[in-house]
Symmetry: C2
Subunit: 138 residues, 2 copies
């Protein structure tokens, strides 16, 4: 499995450390998880991590998973995605699969058009079990 991750050259030291940590993690990490992993690099306070995360999320290099209060690196190297991204979170192994669906996005636009709601941001998170974990449990 190849790394699809991206590491822009213009990140600050803290941003680079945080994104590096997320890139190597097999599952989402909380800000405090990240902090603990980076204490050896000199980070001491939650805010150092949160500030880096804010920038990374803003740039689309990382995503926040609302239902976990945790963060993952963006799985798409070209992260030009402006639209709706869905996350499938396995309760077994913790792995997260990221995908986009144009039809769902279209439905959402249609609903927004009909109600006059202006969509700014959408989070879609699916909890369940991935194929690997289902098979292991069988």
């Amino acid at each position: 499995m190849a790394h699809d991750h991206v590491m822009p050259a213009d990140l600050t030291r803290n941003q680079e450390l945080v994104l590096g940590t997320l890139n190597h993690a097999p599952a989402p990490l909380s800000a405090y998880d990240i902090l603990d992993l980076l204490r050896s690099e000199g980070l001491r306070a939650p805010l150092q991590v949160y500030r880096a995360l804010d920038k990374l999320v803003e740039r689309g290099l990382a995503h926040r998973l609302e239902s976990l209060n945790a963060f993952v690196a963006c799985a798409d190297a070209h992260c030009h995605r402006k639209g709706l991204i869905a996350f499938a979170i396995c309760e077994g192994c913790g792995k997260v699969d990221e995908f986009a669906d144009a039809v769902t996005e279209e439905r959402l636009s249609a609903w927004a058009g009909a109600t006059g709601f202006k969509v700014e941001r959408t989070t879609m998170e699916i909890r369940g079990k991935c194929a690997v974990c289902l098979k292991a449990a069988a």
Copy 2:
């Protein structure tokens, strides 16, 4: 605007108090908001509220909004909805609109079928501005 809310007869006192509070709220409430509103009724600890919320959510009488860490009463009196419910949250007035979309649900099933993922629960939360707030800002 009619109350679509429901208040089952078999709730415990705490559950009834919490659901009553949610039913009358114009916008989502955090557990601590609810606690503060119910101190006059004798509630003192967060756990009293959280336990009631757990049951209410389990029964589909209330929903948790992950992106707000807050709760709303279910808008559908018959809340038989097992499937995907989407919430549109207005950043202006805080109001939440709850709706279901069969097509989106179908897309999700299709994705699940294709990847072997077993969906247990889905949260879909849309942030933006409602028609009323957009008009007010114009």
